[in-house]
């Protein structure tokens, strides 16, 4: 392609690529699922106060992009790293020992001089509304399911280039040797949800009720209620990437 032709191309922007350091938290809270969430997202500004300041803030939830809009709320401080979620996932989705669809991260946080607390953080695919992995896949082997919003894999189309693995801000993908394709969490869509189960294997196996799975567009669902609890602080991982993840974190 000639330079003169390149100049005529429309700038694709960077919003779908990871690590673009944009931190417009409130705007993010608004656009995360196309709705305004009742709690204080990321706690920098209380959403209630902000509502008074910004007149254009929508009062009611608008239409969700997906129905059911699957998401998961992780009540982080309840996690004790028993890893039953991992075991259940491996068993349900035939995950080999060299990979994972979900795992637990461990952190040590200093609470006062000489004292620290251990934090376990379950992680999995965030089923982003603007998934960087989907954006970079050259064969459209990974795609956003139009109905549920689940980021799915079409293994037949995957050529194993691993670009999606590099693009994912959450390190949620691995290359599965025996099928020669990238594998990832799909909220147990094929193994449980289509069979009528209401929960993912990891959420069902959790003894501490850390992982709450459900339909964010349903006001009667637990995830909706947790996310909309007025004084509850919810956060997401790596919001600066602009990927608009659907895995929310909160304490209790």
């Amino acid at each position: 392609m000639k330079i003169s032709d390149l100049e005529k191309l429309k700038n694709e922007g960077v919003e779908n690529l990871p690590s673009s350091e944009r931190r417009s938290f409130l705007k993010f809270g608004l656009s995360v699922t196309g709705v305004f969430l009742g709690g204080s997202i990321l706690s920098l500004t209380s959403a209630r106060n902000a509502q008074g300041i910004v007149e254009l803030m929508p009062q009611q939830a608008q239409k969700f992009p997906y129905s059911p809009h699957y998401s998961m709320v992780i009540r982080q401080n309840r996690c004790i790293d028993c890893e039953r979620c991992k075991e259940a996932c491996v068993k349900t989705n035939f995950v080999p020992s060299y990979g994972y669809r979900t795992t637990i991260l461990e952190m040590e946080r200093e609470t006062s001089p000489g004292e620290s607390e251990r934090i376990f953080m379950p992680v999995l695919c965030n089923h982003c509304n603007r998934p960087p992995c989907v954006r970079v896949c050259p064969t459209k082997a990974t795609y956003k399911d139009k109905k549920t919003g689940i980021v799915m894999m079409d293994y037949k189309k995957c050529i194993g280039c691993k670009t999606c693995m590099a693009a994912c801000p959450y390190n949620a993908r691995y290359f599965k040797e025996d099928i020669r394709a990238v594998d990832k969490c799909n909220f147990c869509y094929d193994t449980r949800l289509v069979k009528g189960e209401k929960e993912t294997a990891c959420a069902a196996a959790c003894p501490a009720d850390v992982r709450v799975f459900g339909d964010l567009s349903d006001p009667d669902s637990r995830v909706y209620k947790l996310i909309h609890a007025p004084e509850k602080v919810a956060w997401v991982l790596r919001p600066e990437t602009g990927a608009l993840p659907n895995i929310y974190y909160m304490n209790d």
Partner: protein, 144 residues
């Protein structure tokens, strides 16, 4: 009290506090004792792996540091024989909330409540593996 007096009073109180700290630290150094397993129980931490992996209990924290006696817990709340408590079907968080086992003290009054600060005792599979010496890492942990 004028400003000078107040300044002096503050200076004096700081001196007193510093002195107290010195005395306390000195006392600690003098009173530092060897860990006596006969008096304080086994030094190695007790690790429970049932019903979940894993929970750690330190005799030192509870006896030498907190001043509990052996018979504060043995044999009424916990059997002495190692591994025996884990075999009980009711060795669960719910039992703790009902005042059994750790919950006898960890009720929010005597000691922090059993339904708070989970990871003080729960070390997880990772903590357990670390105690066993072998540190497992996640398979695709090093991609980025």
């Amino acid at each position: 009290m004028n400003i000078d007096q107040r300044g002096f009073a503050r200076f004096f109180s700081v001196l007193v506090a510093a002195g107290l700290l010195l005395v306390l630290a000195g006392g600690q150094a003098v009173g530092e004792e060897e860990y006596d397993e006969d008096a304080y129980g086994p030094q190695a931490p007790i690790v429970f792996i049932a019903p979940v992996k894993a929970v750690v209990f330190s005799h030192k924290t509870h006896t030498m540091d907190a001043g509990l006696e052996c018979d504060s817990c043995h044999d009424e709340i916990f059997q002495m024989e190692s591994g025996s408590t884990e075999q009980n079907d009711d060795f669960t968080m719910q039992s703790l909330y009902d005042g059994k086992y750790c919950g006898a003290c960890h009720d929010g009054e005597t000691a922090f409540a059993s339904n708070t600060r989970c990871t003080v005792c729960h070390i997880g599979v990772k903590g357990f593996d670390r105690m066993q010496g072998g540190q497992k890492t996640d398979a695709h942990g090093g991609h980025h």
